[in-house]
């Protein structure tokens, strides 16, 4: 009976196929994927809905799998960040650092490792490096030294990179990560990751491959000063590792240590990953003084936060699979391609490079005075964490979701613009209503991030504070808050200014006749009644089923039929409710 019932239920579908689709239906049946057979005949909207649903299910499944593996395996991650310092000169020559110039124009003799040339340490490069180390709560070493790290590669003219291997200039720092930084839920509200050391070193040349046999080298980047920040292996989730890299970037940017972030290649991350089975004997490996860990692998050259997270997930799962199938994790170097699902082997253990670190015999020890550290400490800009506290505090009243992007976007330029808008607003806004004054900063946040941000995204334009001058936006928000214009009008004017309308806001509103002339109650009633008459069925649904969401349709009708820019949504809704429920 059951069986028959099933057959009955499935048959009609098969019969409904038009003849042209039979082939595809057979294919579908052969591959036994009933979901696609049914998808073939459902409308696109439904397909999309289903796809979204299945994606969600997949995500949920993945999340459950991740959680299951987390229960069983402990992941341990350490992060190494290479960041280009914001300096005018290279680390060991006076050549400029600008990398946008014509290739191979900003190079000194030493940068190209010409015979007989010698390094000339540029003391000014120390300033951003020290700011970074101070912002990362490190102990600055009074004496540090430079070492040579040897390997042959054409992007490394000397055959070695000058770095600080034995005695780095900063040690024992930390970075605090909070829930709003996007750390994994299991890490709670806050987690502290220790920083083992920060060292100064040279960048390499930029190489461009033109297979099969051409490789172009641009030595402008050679010896651009970098800092390498090495964290302790104290991170246990992929999300927290990504949050850590993001946080390090925002700290480096906030203290003015670096020029560009990951998206422009100014920051690169390597991660080392190991796993161990929970509840079993501790692993045999020890890294940076932390023992009991499993054999780790290193994933090199991750260039986005997402790549950090995805690569760690993939590598963790690879190691679990290796161990579960009775294999052994080898200490190897692996790579990651954006969009892939697996890390790939770059260098096996037997191919490990012996860098033959040797103290550089030409470069004297670096001596850093306490007075320099003290003066830098005093002049360090506000840290991102204090900025967050400021923005979500009573002074601005932003949500954490708005505060974070304001701080992180455009290297702090967006935040600066936002603060300008708020400052001007506070100066010009004279609404007698306290509530209006108190919400100014929050409303401004919305306009700077979402309205202006939306226009930028739509036009695919980079941030530019001059496109919509802070004063114009402030005046616009001021008019809106004082209910002199409607929201849609404000958006329309903003778009106009964004597209090049350079008239002052007051002039635009005046000349284009956009100032709100409030409708009378009689005019609202007339508009509302006309709308209700159009769709009495829906009115009945609202009345009987309390489907209040449908009120919006009527409000929209009133805005459309009413004189442009004069219908205020809240008032329209008020009148509608009155008419429908009384």
């Amino acid at each position: 009976m059951h069986l028959v019932h099933h057959t009955d239920a499935d048959q009609p579908y098969a019969h409904q196929y038009p003849p042209a689709r039979i082939n595809s239906s057979i294919r579908s049946l052969q591959s036994a994927t009933p979901s696609t057979t049914s998808a073939d005949r459902v409308p696109l909207r439904k397909i999309l809905k289903q796809e979204a649903k299945s994606l969600k299910a997949q995500k949920r499944q993945r999340k459950e799998n991740e959680e299951a593996s987390r229960q069983q395996w402990e992941l341990t991650v350490g992060v190494e960040i290479h960041a280009q310092l914001d300096t005018a000169a290279k680390l060991f020559s006076r050549a400029p650092t600008s990398s946008s110039d014509v290739p191979n124009t900003n190079v000194a003799l030493f940068d190209l490792a010409f015979p007989g040339s010698q390094p000339e340490f540029q003391a000014a490069t120390l300033l951003p490096a020290l700011r970074a180390a101070i912002a990362l709560n490190c102990q600055i070493q009074p004496v540090s030294r430079f070492d040579r790290k040897h390997y042959f590669y054409q992007d490394q003219p000397a055959g070695y990179q000058i770095t600080q291997y034995y005695e780095p200039f900063a040690r024992n720092g930390y970075v605090d990560l909070f829930d709003y930084d996007g750390i994994a839920p299991e890490d709670g509200e806050k987690i502290r990751i220790d920083i083992k050391q920060v060292q100064l070193e040279q960048d390499t040349a930029k190489s461009q491959e033109y297979p099969p046999s051409t490789q172009l080298l641009d030595f402008n980047r050679v010896s651009h000063p970098l800092i390498e920040i090495i964290t302790m292996p104290q991170i246990h989730t992929p999300a927290t590792a990504a949050a850590c890299v993001r946080k390090l970037q925002s700290i480096l940017q906030a203290c003015g240590a670096v020029t560009t972030g990951m998206e422009l290649g100014g920051l690169r991350a390597d991660v080392n990953v190991s796993i161990r089975r929970r509840g079993e004997a501790p692993g045999q490996c020890e890294y940076d003084g932390i023992s009991g860990l499993g054999q780790r692998t290193e994933i090199k050259n991750l260039s986005s936060f997402k790549a950090v997270e995805d690569a760690i997930v993939a590598e963790k799962n690879r190691q679990i699979a290796v161990l579960q199938s009775g294999g052994v994790v080898e200490g190897e170097t692996r790579g990651w391609t954006i969009g892939s699902t697996e890390t790939r082997l770059l260098r096996g253990k037997e191919g490990a490079v012996d860098y033959r670190y040797m103290p550089d015999p030409d470069i004297p020890p670096l001596r850093i005075g306490a007075d320099l550290i003290a003066s830098l400490q005093e002049n360090l800009p506000t840290s991102p964490d204090s900025l967050v506290l400021q923005l979500i505090g009573p002074a601005y009243g932003l949500s954490i979701e708005d505060a974070k992007p304001l701080i992180e976007l455009d290297d702090g330029a967006r935040l600066e613009y936002y603060q300008d808008v708020v400052d001007i607003l506070r100066e010009i806004h004279s609404s007698p209503e306290k509530s209006s004054r108190d919400t100014l900063a929050r409303v401004a946040g919305n306009w700077v991030l979402h309205e202006l941000g939306g226009l930028l995204t739509k036009a695919d334009r980079a941030w530019d504070a001059t496109v919509v001058p802070a004063r114009s936006l402030a005046e616009l928000i001021d008019h809106l808050q004082r209910k002199l214009i409607t929201g849609p009008t404000a958006k329309q004017v903003l778009a106009g200014i964004f597209d090049g309308d350079s008239r002052p806001v007051a002039v635009i509103l005046e000349e284009d006749n956009l100032l709100l002339r409030p409708l009378s109650r009689g005019e609202y009633l007339a508009l509302a009644e006309a709308a209700i008459a159009q769709n009495p069925k829906m009115v009945e649904q609202i009345r009987s089923k309390k489907q209040m969401g449908k009120l919006g349709w009527f409000v929209g009708q009133m805005m459309r039929t009413g004189e442009k820019g004069r219908v205020e949504a809240p008032k329209a809704e008020e009148i509608l409710r009155e008419l429908i429920f009384q």
């Binding site: 010409f114 015979p115 007989g116 042959f152 054409q154 003219p157 490789q215």
Partner: protein
């Protein structure tokens, strides 16, 4: 004789004598002629400097913009440096003419100037059985001076490379305290040991050149600063020689069994000569000496392996014939270039250095050798009456040894120059290591960065017929360069009669 005639004679000598002392001799005609004539005209009113219009040859590992700089290597055999070394700028500013680029052991690695892509240098002094070694690695510079092909010459001294050829050719060779002469433009062999040295027929010539080069250079991070120089001159003047008889130290450890009797005789007669002039001779002990040579041959190749990593043929230098034949981007671009560009001795030292810096060998070799280097320095500090003028206050032992000596006097090399045929020939019983022992007396001063000079003395037998030439070395405390030269002058050119 006019400066022009002197210059023309030198250049003629560069071309007629078949000594292979130059890789790039000075062209017979050129702008140098006008410059020498100008110097001749100045000579009457007062020359620019003591070397105005003189020909000074430069070892081919010192960069010159106008002449090639090959380092005696195949990998740089057509290399033209885009800049002048500071010492070259200094010489030219003083009115001197760069008299060509002299032959050397490739990158300065060798003791006989035979490891050159341009063939071995021949000594002017020829033995009865054939050509003799000119010493190395600045053999070309020493021979150019000895053969009257120039007025004076610059060499480089990393472990004895100026002093040994001076001893073998009968010239004066001076290695100043480390950091006094700029190394900007001097192609690095082992940076922590490399110094520019000066060769001349007489110490006074060497002094004239040294005075011109002894200046701070901001381009060289190891150049001694102006303030330290001021401290040095304050501590080291007036010269002890002007105040009292000297205390001459004789390092007992240098009386090794390999010392040739003729060299030992020259040493003893030199000491007797100094004693006769009223100076006191004191035996001293430098116990770390016996490890110094081994330490040197760990440290110098370690630095060399690092310094020579830059020669890959990518940005300059000669590419190997088949460097591009492998089109795969994964294949190393430079292995063929390095394989064919470097000579056997350079390859040996690169491998040696690569090994001693490798993770498993580092502690046993490189670190250990650095410890020996420190002991060698302490040895010297404990026998000199003067403390190291640049030592940190707390490193200076508060009490100087009461019996401390002013200088040490010892042979430059344990034997007279060997036959070239013995070095280059295929005699199976000679190991490359045999050449290293020639540096046994010169390496300690290099490890400690001390000033040292080699001056020629002659020993004639009773009949006065047969004379043996030997180099005697004077080593002083750091910064006592002038004292070292003064004591050198006391011995320079002495002919001692062998009465035994």
């Amino acid at each position: 004789m006019s400066l022009l005639r002197e210059a023309e004679r030198c250049i003629a000598n560069q071309y007629v004598q078949n000594l292979n002392s130059f890789i790039t001799p000075l062209p017979r005609t050129g702008s140098w002629k006008a410059r020498v004539q100008e110097a001749d005209q100045r000579a009457d009113q007062g020359p620019l400097t003591w070397i105005d219009g003189r020909l000074i040859s430069v070892k081919d590992n010192i960069c010159t913009r106008d002449l090639p700089t090959t380092c005696g290597s195949g990998i740089l055999d057509k290399f033209n440096s885009p800049f002048n070394a500071t010492v070259v700028e200094q010489l030219e500013a003083a009115g001197a003419i760069i008299a060509g680029k002299t032959n050397l052991d490739e990158f300065g690695m060798g003791s006989h100037s035979v490891y050159s892509r341009f063939g071995p240098v021949k000594n002017v002094r020829n033995g009865a059985e054939g050509d003799l070694s000119a010493g190395g690695s600045s053999g070309g510079s020493a021979v150019a001076v000895a053969a009257d092909q120039c007025y004076a010459a610059l060499g480089t001294d990393t472990g004895g490379s100026v002093r040994l050829p001076a001893a073998y050719t009968g010239t004066v060779g001076f290695k100043p305290s480390y950091g006094l002469i700029s190394r900007w433009g001097v192609v690095a062999y082992a940076n922590s040991l490399d110094t520019v040295g000066i060769l001349g027929l007489k110490t006074s010539t060497v002094r004239d050149v040294f005075t011109l080069l002894n200046h701070y250079d901001p381009h060289d991070p190891t150049s001694i600063s102006r303030s330290s120089r001021a401290r040095l001159s304050q501590v080291t003047s007036p010269s002890p020689l002007q105040c009292r008889p000297l205390r001459i130290g004789v390092p007992l450890e240098y009386n090794i069994s390999e010392l040739e009797p003729s060299v030992r005789k020259a040493w003893l007669l030199s000491l007797a000569h100094l004693q006769k002039q009223g100076h006191a001779i004191h035996p001293v002990s430098l116990p770390a000496t016996k490890h110094a040579l081994s330490a040197y041959y760990v440290l110098a190749p370690a630095e060399a392996s690092s310094n020579l990593a830059k020669y890959d043929g990518v940005r300059y230098g000669t590419r190997g014939d088949h460097a591009d034949s492998d089109k795969s981007l994964d294949a190393p671009l430079y292995s063929q270039t390095r394989g064919s560009g470097f000579g056997a001795e350079v390859k040996r030292r690169i491998l040696l250095g690569t090994f001693s810096l490798s993770a498993d060998a580092m502690d046993n070799y490189f670190i250990q050798a650095q410890r020996v280097r420190r002991l060698v320095q302490q040895d010297f500090n404990s026998v000199f009456g003067a403390g190291h003028p640049l030592a940190h206050e707390n490193e200076k032992s508060s009490e100087r040894p009461a019996s401390g000596v002013d200088v040490l006097v010892c042979p430059t090399a344990p034997s007279p120059p060997p036959l070239l045929s013995d070095l280059t020939g295929l005699s199976a019983n000679r190991s490359p290591l045999d050449a290293y022992v020639n540096d046994v007396f010169t390496v300690p001063a290099s490890l400690a960065g001390l000033p040292a000079i080699s001056v020629p003395v002659a020993v004639t037998n009773t009949g006065g017929k047969k004379s043996g030439l030997a180099g005697i070395q004077v080593v002083g405390q750091y910064g006592y360069d002038e004292l070292v030269m003064q004591v050198g002058e006391l011995l320079e050119g002495q002919r001692f009669a062998d009465d035994s």
